[in-house]
Symmetry: C2
DNA sequence: GTGAAAGCGCTAACAG
DNA sequence: CTGTTAGCGCTTTCAC
């Protein structure tokens, strides 16, 4: 099965390849008659552009690369969906890569995307520092936007939510529900999400006079398993359990509520639990999770917009030294979704 | 930021572009000394291959395209992970597309992948008939393997599980747990998964003498919402609810158990519930779901193997008329995972 | 309005 | 062992 080329279409239509190209890409003046002939010939032969050749010629692939820490985390898949959606409106494709939460794999993926000449890259870096070098290097070569998470010491655009503001809402809600002490369960402080959320948690807890036992800061990873483990630790015999458990994401919160069920700890009666992200399964757990809803569609739309702007403003780097002005940091305000894992305010 | 080309490396190393190419792609004999010089130069300049140019020249992209019905279904994302993993071992990349369960979008995605000259395509067709034309057309141009779901009337390789055998296990287990009547909740019979699972359900129910009320066959879509809706219907006042609810996938089953909880129907006391796929959340629901575990890693590995074989056997078509022998249909046997949503056998 | 021709970056003959 | 050269399929000046 040989692929049909522009040359064959040209021959069949009795014109030059230049004309065929003009017709098919809709650029340049071609008489109506010739147009029809060419289209006809292309149709008959089942012609399809060879986007590789086109890309080589145009040095544009109409493809955007996206790298996420984990494709099995529903939050990221929904973010991917939103980005794909937003890109579709611009006639661009998405090339998706999973970094498996490993900065090395992530670096390789980024390099691959550069080699493939994608038009731009959207990345949610898996590590707050170790991802830095690769992200910066990539950003020096291509338009790049960080999404959700970001990495320190780089000068690229970023879109995400205001974690600190979100945590303020969470803590206020828990406080209104009677919480006077709280625990925080997150991942190791090696990515911006956890860092920011933890910072927001700690600050507002202090302001509200909510007690935080140093032993009640449990850092592991973003997984249900870790949530279960952490909860088991919190409610182990001996210590004094907190009134509330604030989780850095929904997966952890799902694990925590599950462990509470298993250990006969009433949620929200004995302890209130909150998540973050509002993944679909958050509403399905028993009890349904109170969580922070991230405006994915808007995050995605902004990211795509920034990427387009960067591309228009001239090939490389998002912000830093050359070219465009300083990089944009867009923090959207998320909203609290109150369900059954917390107590309604007084 | 101009990209470094092979020519610049050649100049810096004082050799020809051909030599550089030979060194960098590891083909052809080059003296050790020159090798070092070239690598050095490439390193200094930060050279990276332009895979677009390479692809145009080689007509090989080392990229495989994958199209799934829905990237937000955890089963498919885990399949994607497995496939990516398997491809990684062959030094190939994955280009992932989401068809949003729409055969038209699916057809466009397939066309795009062809235009992009991927080396092969792995697709789980969203529709049992409407996906047919596009899949066949694509298979005529490129090596293609169907995964999990398949479409009728095509002649391509396929890898998945034996749904009928799986359903036999499910029904036997329910029967042993005392079920004498059962309902089936699935998607519309427009994809092979539901079709096969339904066929398996119906056949074994008959053989075991399990009663199936015609009103207890509920077909909607693969979603939690539909599961909830269906369950509400089954337990609505008036009818006689079944002893067991067999669901065509875990999302549906999650919805069903949730609705049961909401309506105070005891699972598995009053009604047993089973899922299919064994997604991560299956074990988290209350009660944890009994379900069918699909051997994703093996499915993925087989698919990649078949694709490689097809590619080796000569460019196009998976099986059909020309070239290779008849197409392979590989049905792996899945295993039942018994948890708390069913009653242990007598 | 249309054609001829150059060239994107790379690799594979073919010479030497 | 290494260099020269042609050309993958497409777009785009530059002539006519």
């Amino acid at each position: 099965m040989q692929r049909v080329t522009i040359a064959q279409v040209a021959e069949r239509a009795g014109v030059s390849t230049a004309t065929v190209s003009r017709v098919l890409s809709g650029r340049g003046p071609v008489s109506a008659g010739v147009q029809r002939k060419v289209r006809r010939a292309a149709e008959d032969l089942g012609y399809q552009v060879n986007s590789i050749a086109r890309a080589l010629r145009n040095s544009r692939t109409d493809t955007v690369g996206m790298v996420v820490p984990s494709i099995s985390n529903p939050f990221f898949t929904s973010l991917v969906e939103s980005v794909e959606h937003a890109l579709g409106r611009e006639g661009k494709e998405l090339f998706l890569c999973d970094a498996r939460s490993d900065p090395e794999i992530e670096a390789r993926r980024l390099a691959t995307l550069v080699a493939r000449s994608v038009d731009g890259i959207i990345v949610s870096p898996s590590h707050g520092t170790l991802s830095g070098a690769a992200v910066q290097e990539t950003a020096d070569r291509l338009p790049l936007v960080q999404l959700d998470r970001f990495v320190g010491g780089t000068s690229t655009d970023w879109v995400g939510v205001d974690d600190v503001a979100a945590m303020r809402q969470v803590m206020d809600h828990l406080h209104a529900g009677g919480a006077r002490s709280a625990a925080f369960v997150g991942s190791l402080l090696t990515n911006s999400s956890t860092e920011q959320r933890f910072a927001g948690f700690r600050r507002r807890a202090e302001e509200l006079g909510i007690a935080v036992d140093p032993g009640h800061l449990l850092l592991g990873d973003y997984s249900v398993d870790w949530g279960e483990t952490a909860a088991a630790r919190l409610f182990a015999a001996g210590g004094t359990p907190p009134d509330a458990v604030v989780c850095a994401d929904d997966l952890i919160a799902l694990g925590v509520t599950r462990a509470c069920r298993a250990h006969g700890v009433d949620v929200p009666g004995r302890v209130q639990v909150t998540g973050y992200d509002n993944i679909e399964f958050a509403r399905l757990s028993e009890p349904a999770l109170t969580t922070v809803d991230q405006p994915r569609e808007r995050i995605a739309a902004e990211a795509v917009r920034l990427l387009a702007a960067a591309a228009a403003a001239g090939g490389s780097g998002g912000g830093g030294g050359e070219g465009r002005g300083p990089s944009a940091h867009i923090a959207l305000v998320p909203s609290l979704v109150v369900r059954d894992s917390t107590r309604a305010g007084a």
